[in-house]
Symmetry: C2
């Protein structure tokens, strides 16, 4: 019994130390005290506690939009910035682009005019830079870009422009037994090349738009070829469809920032039991950008109306966030 | 220092107890001693050990075909048995089926003749039973079937006809830090309704064929409607495409049983570093079924040739498995 009681003592001492430690640590230090932070902490405590709102770990599914929710999206979606950088890089191998729009205008340096040519022009830029190679060649081009390309305003790597408060939220949820997923209109293969490092979210927990891919058995071995054909658009009503297809379980927490997330938020909210629905509202023109109802990128209008009406949590970036990017002190 | 050394003692005692326990337990008790069992155990020990073949936990992705690999598939794919049962159940609401093929023949009790009407007949049976309802209504119909319908030969629930040796393998892999996935030609929503209970594989780790699904905002709330349109066929060359789309990472272990798994096995084998490629060979006409090169269901021909040529692990069900189903003693 002597050794048994020593073990008991040690275990109690360790448990006490652990719980003291937890009480002293704020899981969301970059969030100002306020309604948003309080709502998040209360929801997580309730569904992971022992009370009536408890949710078993297997059902703790949390989904996050990416552009504008986990990292910035101005002045252009970052994946579009990648595509434009790739056009420049690929140009020497495409002499025909010198006379072919939108490439001609783009290579002459007028990004705005090239994009103003409309959706067809945009799609041909995406097709040229996102197909005609193997999945591994594409992933490698994204990795190179993610570790070298700099944002025109901040001069930082695009992958440094993730939101520190959201990184803390992802970590807090995972420590509480949640599985965190990205559900984004962005390309799934584009995101998978860097999100694991940036957010700690593994490739198999990324849902996104995708192009068609074809299996080919070459003499050197099998490859997957990216084709110039859109296969799935994970935006708007496509988001609940993507959640159903990839995850197969309704989330209990969803976070977005634009009308492209509206149906995902509605779908999540409509489940039974406690739900958390959050919107990042871009209100900080100094530290980030301020935009909502009138913006071409990340337009937030109808989803904001429903959020206000249904008391979803609207995060006011300027008021609620102590810090925006991880590199800020 | 006194309490420190006591803690050290306790920790060592616990560690010793744990390692003794592990050494005494065979992780694959339903596998006979032989080359297949040895190859599996050695591979898992090598990639989860400290040596040159070590693979970090995040990359320990294992993929399994379902029909004929994790559960039986004779005399009909079990999902087809579900569809046929549903036709009977739905018939009272479809008086037109009395004169419409293949339903007329099917409802007259001649399953063989109905299926002999060819692929179009088969597709209309699948469409009638797998679309025109919400995803939740469909899941609920599968759950009811999975807990009530009995197999014509064994008289057991279909969901009891999983392979005990493969259940042990799934468990062993998960205890060693693997993430286990199903990658099957079967319908993803059909499988998700029962595989978590049967295999311990959560919905988000199931890759399968799928039909189109549509988001609809009804006055009562949002729903996802299953449409009569095939969206993705996760079979043959579709399997590596599905792995790329849903998992986004190349597996290091793949298990199949038919030519429909061939490209998945090739894709997995072509990765760098150690790989494990396995085939379940149906050789046991007494306890299960015996079939391979000439079978209409689960045809195993080209993949078997490549397996023999490249020394993949071919599991001889009759020789390698002590037990087939969990309910056998």
């Amino acid at each position: 019994m002597q050794s048994r009681s020593r073990l008991t003592l040690v275990v109690f001492a360790l448990a006490a130390a652990a719980s003291t430690g937890a009480a002293q640590t704020d899981p969301l230090p970059s969030w100002n005290e306020g309604a948003a932070k309080q709502a998040i902490l209360k929801f997580v405590a309730d569904v992971t506690g022992e009370g009536a709102a408890a949710v078993p770990p297997a059902e703790r599914i949390a989904v996050f939009d990416n552009d504008g929710t986990l990292w910035s999206e101005q002045p252009l979606y970052f994946q579009l910035a990648f595509a434009l950088d790739q056009v420049k890089l690929m140009a020497p191998k495409h002499p025909e682009w010198k006379t072919q729009e939108p490439f001609k205008t783009l290579l002459a340096g007028d990004v705005k005019a090239a994009l103003a040519q409309g959706e067809k022009a945009m799609l041909s830029i995406v097709a040229a830079t996102h197909s005609g190679m193997t999945t591994e060649e594409f992933a490698s081009s994204v990795e190179t870009w993610a570790t070298t390309a700099k944002h025109p305003k901040t001069g930082r790597l695009y992958t440094e422009m993730t939101y520190q408060p959201m990184l803390e939220l992802l970590g807090h949820l995972r420590r509480k037994g949640f599985k965190t997923f990205i559900v984004s209109g962005g390309g799934v293969e584009f995101m998978r090349a860097w999100v694991e490092k940036a957010y700690g979210i593994p490739p198999e927990q990324v849902v996104g738009s995708s192009g068609a891919v074809k299996f080919e058995l070459r003499p050197s071995g099998p490859v997957l070829l990216k084709e110039a054909k859109v296969d799935f658009v994970d935006d708007g009503p496509g988001k609940p469809v993507g959640i159903n297809r990839f995850i197969g379980r309704r989330p209990i927490l969803a976070f977005g920032n634009s009308d492209g997330d509206h149906q995902m938020l509605q779908w999540t909210a409509a489940g039974s039991g406690r739900r958390f629905i959050g919107l990042v509202h871009h209100t900080d023109a100094v530290r980030e950008w301020a935009y909502d109802r009138q913006s071409h990128i990340g337009k937030l209008d109808k989803a904001l109306d429903e959020a206000l009406q249904r008391s979803w949590t609207v995060v006011d970036m300027k008021a609620d966030w102590k810090r925006v990017y991880p590199y800020e002190k």
